[in-house]
């Protein structure tokens, strides 16, 4: 149990998918303008990523094995796209409210490189099924945390008196860099 907790904490804080691994930067910059949208994106990503890491573990272990390892990226992409499509239809039917919140973010997840990155990292780290699930969920929770924090900062930035050449994306990238530095403080939290 402690191992799983360590994986969860490790992926959320120490090896944060955005701040330390530099994955998923596109939605990180794209949907962090407002707090509500970033929460929606984070929730949708968490759902898909947990499912995707579990399913890609199964595919990698039982279908691909070692001799078909070169199909990993290809098959993971197909599976992720399938999961996203299924999730979209499922949520649409079961919870129209949730669909209205997540609706436009769900298709965006297909192209989120963090969602492909985490299953591949899972393979690299030779995680077992449950570890993969925790790694996926932790990564997504870390993504959500950083996205929400960043959105909160950006909402403040809107009102800040930023020098003209730095306005918009430039100051956002500078802020992201500083955030990444701050997250380095977590290194060493878990050995």
């Amino acid at each position: 149990m402690q191992d799983y907790l360590l994986i969860l904490l490790g992926t959320v804080f120490v090896n944060n998918i955005v701040m330390a691994k530099m994955l998923g930067l596109c939605p990180f910059m794209g949907v962090s303008r407002k707090l509500e949208t970033s929460l929606g994106m984070g929730a949708a990503t968490t759902f898909v990523l947990t499912l995707a890491s579990g399913l890609s573990y199964l595919i990698n272990t039982y279908l691909l094995g070692t001799e078909l390892a070169y199909l990993r990226t290809l098959s993971f992409i197909v599976v992720i796209a399938g999961i996203v499509g299924f999730t979209e239809m499922f949520i649409r039917k079961t919870s129209p409210v949730l669909f209205r919140v997540l609706g436009i973010y769900l298709p965006l997840i297909t192209t989120n490189c963090a969602v492909l990155g985490i299953p591949l990292l899972n393979v690299q780290a030779q995680h077992n099924f449950v570890e993969s699930l925790f790694f996926g969920m932790g990564g997504a929770l870390g993504f959500t945390l950083v996205l929400v924090l960043f959105a909160a900062i950006r909402e403040r930035l809107e009102a800040a008196d930023v020098p003209l050449p730095f306005r918009g994306t430039s100051i956002a990238l500078v802020t992201a860099g500083l955030m990444s530095l701050a997250f380095m403080g977590f290194a060493g939290l878990i050995k």
Partner: protein
């Protein structure tokens, strides 16, 4: 090689089957009107109507939140077909949406009676002249706001389009603000 093809097509088949099943199983009964309106819209997803895409705009029309004349790519023809479908009067495209070429006011000096009404209307003082004297527009100062066209009692002011050349060409503003995100 064969195993790879089998595995990939197997995954694709299973996923395709699940998605196809889900599409039927989780079908959502939508307002059929939305589908019909959506079919008429040009599907350019340009966002010029103020909605994120054609489907949200179609939904807004069906709900009665949006007017039918907010789709420049669909043109007059599209508006006419929407009006037929919804049983309302067709109306011209929303003027604020169609991009007007930059133009300046020109006074037909033979017709001008020197009433000074246009001088009073001009916000940038681009019209010179005095009472009972012929007026004229200084093209360099004219912003093309058309405020002087209406007050003229003899209709001697018309707008002339400026041809684009090296000195008058500008980058277009690329940003189209979306009214609502979800």
């Amino acid at each position: 090689m064969l195993a790879a093809i089998l595995v990939m097509s197997g995954i694709a088949l299973v996923l395709g089957g699940i998605l196809g099943w889900a599409a039927i199983r989780f079908r959502v009964e939508e307002d059929p009107l939305v589908e019909k309106i959506d079919a008429i819209l040009p599907q350019t997803q340009c966002g010029q109507c103020g909605y994120p895409g054609c489907k949200p705009y179609a939904e807004a029309i069906a709900k009665g939140e949006a007017d039918i004349n907010r789709c420049p790519p669909g043109g007059e023809d599209g508006v006419k077909r929407l009006a037929e479908l919804l049983g309302v009067e067709p109306k011209p495209l929303d003027e604020g949406l169609t991009h007007k070429p930059k133009s300046v006011a020109v006074i037909d000096e033979n017709l001008c009676i020197g009433c000074t009404l246009c001088i009073q209307a001009c916000p940038v003082d681009a019209i010179v002249g005095a009472a009972k004297q012929m007026h004229t527009v200084i093209p360099e100062l004219c912003t093309g706001c058309e405020l002087c066209v209406a007050p003229c009692p003899v209709d001697c002011i018309h707008m002339e389009v400026i041809k684009e050349d090296v000195s008058s060409w500008k980058w277009r503003y690329p940003i189209i603000s979306l009214k609502r995100a979800a």
